[in-house]
Each structure stands twice: as C-alpha cells, then as structure tokens.
Symmetry: C2
Subunit: 176 residues, 2 copies
DNA sequence: TCTGCCATGTAAGTTGTTACATGATTAT
DNA sequence: ATAATCATGTAACAACTTACATGGCAGA
C-alpha cells in the first residue's frame, strides 16, 4: 500500500512526471522507499484511475509527451488518513543477515569478503549523507517546518548507515 | 529468492516441520527474515519439488501428520553458491519514514504520537534482544563457531534497534 | 560513434498478503 | 467454556522483479 502513499507524499511536495518520480525514488526519496520505474508508472495509472491524482499532458518536440501529475483534494485526504493510521515497524528482510546466519557452513573467507564489501558500501552511503547534512541542514532548529521533516528522513539514513557500518566492523573483528 | 535460502539456512541447522519453521520465523529467524506460514508452506513444497530439501512423514494420533524436512546435498550446495554470490545492501522501504516525509501536511500531534508509539516498540525489542544477549552470549570470543554467526544476527538486531530508538527520540525532540 | 539522458510503457513470472478451511489437544 | 497450541494447507489478490520495447537528443 505504501508505494501509493510515498508517491502522494512526493507529489504533494511538487508535481512531476513519472520519470521525475523515478529519479527521486533513486535519490532522496530512496532514503525511505525504493521502487523501479515500472512500478511507478503502473501505480500512477492506478492512482489516476482512482482519482487520487490527476495529470496534464505536456506536448514536446522530439520526445514523448510528458504527463505532469498532481495530487487531487481526494488524494491529499487519502494521504492524511493513511498518515493518521498507526503502523508497525517494518519487519526485517536482509540477505546479508541470512548469509551470516547460515555462514558457518561456508568458507570464512567468503563471508569476510562479503562483510568487507558491505562495510565499504555503508561507509560510502554514510559519507554522501553527511555531505548533504552539512550542505543543506546547518541549523536544524531553525529550518522551516517542511524542511524539518525532510531533514529527519536524512537523519534516519545517517543513523542507519552508522549502525550498519559499526556492525560490519564488529562482525569482521569477531570472525577474524 | 532469499526466502528459499533463509529456509535452507534454518533447516541446515536443524531439520524441522513447516510449523516449526513458522515459529522460528516469528522468533529468532525474524531478526533477519520475516515470512508468514502460508509463504513457508508454499516455499517448502517448491523446494521439495526442486530437490533442495526432502521430507519424512511422521504419523501422529489426534493431529495431522508431521512432515519433517531436511536439506539435501543439492540444497546445501545451492545455499553455499548463493552465499558466495555478492549481494547489495537491502533497499529501504519504511512506512514510518514515508509518513515523516509527508508529515508536514498532517497534524503535528498525529506525527508525534506515531513517533512515540514506535519509540516504545523499539525500546521493547531492544530490551528483549539485550536479555538474549546476556543469557546466551556472555563470552563472544569463546563461542563455538556456529554460535558466533548466530550471535552476529542478534548483535545486528541490537544495533538496529538502538539506532531506531535514538532516531525516534531525536525526531520527537526536533518536532516538539 | 557511443554513452547517457529524456520519456514512456507492456508482459511474464515470482513473491507476499489476506482470507478461508479443518480439527484434536491442552491449559485456564 | 474458551483460548491457545499443534499442524496442515488452498485460493484470490496485490506487489514486486526482470526482461522487453521504442526513439530522439546532447555531449564526450
């Protein structure tokens, strides 16, 4: 269900095309929801059919027409309703942890290499997040309201990547 | 794909029934993979058809027969192959963060209540994880190999819950 | 010339969710 | 009595993934 609401939350902020959304889901929205362009286009059709969003076709030369989507009143209402309903913390599904759990049957070197790869990936993500933090969110308490909310999603990314990085290092230490 | 491998990793450790697996996925295996009993039974049928696991039917009185599953050589090989293939960190999909991102359109009180609910849930999970840690994993460096791997999945749970808890507190502070 | 960007989608297959279905045993 | 536990599944639907499909434009 939440893909629909992630799209609504994005479109409420700013009207855009499926293509734009796909880029956002690959970037900043990706801090909290990931989706492929196929999923997004399909969901947009569905949301428009339901009347939660509406589109304006913008003709272009030399490339396919754009469809600029915006949230309708009905859609905004749906978003608010959804936000107001309590939800549970997301259950975990993590490939790496499955590998660790079953890791004793494999070669230790294999596991250590995988841990090192992940350590590096988390390190990189963390440093790009920290850069964004420095560039755009200097004085958190003085940010405009909307920016505070977006800042919090970035903070969560930083927090989660920091935690993963520390765990990878701990795991490598324990197994070495 | 990884549900199959999570099941294999569980069954390699100990042969058991679909029912047992469902319980494990609701408990310790749930640290890293969640699945419903329907999914598990379906996947077990598929894995057996593929010859990755095999079953032994154990007749019982007064209740349905048990099917005790164990991993075949072929299945173990598949697990090892899968572990050896590098994988990417799991992309995030988190309802609460979608709510936060779009949270500026809602009432602040609604958001704060939801954050508080989650703060509490993470606090509770963290304390049960810490209890397990104290009870079963006193001297990490001296654990038998297999236990080290399982311990690491618990450590990840502790790390992740700690991070979430701290973030919830930070978020509540920033928005209050 | 080749890569990447812009811009849209369809189709097939897999995975996950929700609801339905059964029925004895054990503990409160 | 009632609820929880043991033990298995089916069916329908929703969500997600992977592969396929098109085609011009801009920059290296």
């Amino acid at each position: 269900m939440a893909l629909a609401h992630a799209i609504l939350a994005s479109l409420v902020d700013r009207s855009c095309t499926g293509y734009d959304l796909a880029k956002q889901f690959d970037g900043s929205v990706g801090f909290f929801w990931s989706a492929s362009h196929q999923q997004i286009y399909r969901e947009l059709s569905k949301l428009e059919a339901q009347g939660w969003i509406a589109s304006e076709t913008i003709p272009q030369q030399g490339r396919p027409d754009k469809k600029l989507y915006h949230v309708t009143e009905h859609g905004k209402h749906q978003l608010l309703d959804w936000i107001a309903q309590p939800c549970e913390p997301t259950p975990i599904k993590d490939d790496l942890l499955v590998k660790i759990f079953g890791g004793y049957v494999a070669q230790k070197q294999t596991i250590l290499e995988e841990l090192e790869r992940h350590r590096q990936a988390h390190e990189e993500k963390l440093s790009t997040y920290k850069l964004l933090d420095q560039q755009y969110f200097q004085n958190p308490q003085q940010l405009p309201e909307q920016a505070k909310f977006q800042y919090l999603t970035l903070l969560n990314g930083i927090s989660s990547e920091t935690s993963w990085l520390a765990w990878c290092e701990q795991a490598i230490r324990l197994l070495s």
